[in-house]
């Protein structure tokens, strides 16, 4: 599986006692983007418009959101010219 993932960003090591906490937007986001692969033609505009760089390339060049990073804003579904992305509410 080919993935476009940001390089790991180092944290300040202050006194050696602080650890980078894990960031998980999955716990609090309101909706998640769902891709319709029939409509997607792999242009990548969605991955460019995501402010959190959550969208990664998965099998066969299609795109998907990293569930830990996606904050559920819905910009990607607005940006897609072919309406391939729908936002589905997260069940709590």
């Amino acid at each position: 599986m080919k993935r476009i993932i940001a390089k790991t960003v180092k944290s300040y090591d202050i006194g050696g006692c602080l650890r980078r906490e894990t960031f998980c937007a999955l716990e609090w986001r309101a909706a998640k983007p769902v891709w319709n692969t029939d409509r997607c033609f792999k242009c990548g505009v969605c991955s460019l418009s995501c402010p959190d760089a959550a969208i990664i390339q998965v099998d066969e060049g299609f795109y998907d959101a990293n569930p830990d990073r996606c904050k559920g804003c819905g910009i990607c579904s607005e940006a897609c010219i072919n309406e391939a992305i729908t936002m589905s509410p997260e069940k709590k």
């Binding site: 944290s11 602080l18 418009s49 402010p51 990073r69 904050k71 804003c73 819905g74 910009i75 936002m87």
Partner: protein
Amino acid sequence: MDRYSVFVPKLLPETELFSPENRSCPGCGQAAAIRIIGKAVEDHRRYPYGISNVEMHTSAFPYKQWELTQAKKPGGTSLKLDAKKIFAMAGESGSFDDGIRMLTEAKKQGKSFIYICLFNEAGIERHREVPLNGYHPDGTKSFIRRLHDMKNLIDRAKAISPDFMATACPSHPFDLVDKVKKTLDCRGISFLAVFVPCPTGCSYDPAQSLNSGRLAVETGFFPLYQIEHGSFRITVSAQSVPRVSEYMKLQPSFVMLSPDEVKKVQDAVDKNTTQ
């Protein structure tokens, strides 16, 4: 689908200098802008970056969301710089004065300095520095004030005549990348004003964030242009959506305006774009 020939992964680098795990709100236009600027900078070792309020905007205290080399360590010791060029990125409020002062100083010393100023859609209303000709008499209409303040700030940067200056918006990412690359290539001082939509500050749906930026550009509220060694060029044609009300409709704080007031705003925008 042959008619779509734009394939983003082939046009822009995969590197991310700005961490995806930043602490900004969902749909933050500022995060989108910084991410795209990071893509344009590409190699962070060549361009040391000064710590600014943008760093605080996106990180919880001890963590760092940047892959950029810092010009100054948090402890206060300056790193030895072999780079000829420094770039600073900051908001439009308190640090604007510092940015302009740095630009003037760099110009005096013949150094290369880039100042990228992020104009927050909501913050611009509450900024503190004094515009060139004070507040507009129509100050109660915050929208017009927003327009004039933004123009005043850009005029102040224009007054020190940078070698390259431009306005940009993350809703037009390729235009933004192009302009950041130009500032990096420019030998003297350069100034870039980036309009960033802020869904939390203006309380609209985060999904509309980049649409808001697009409408601001297309209605002429924030025209995109560049001034390269004195030659002026509009890079994205404004006024393709003629009514500024389209843009104001997005923001709940302006839905109460009467048609007369909307017309007044439209006149102000028209006057701004024709200048």
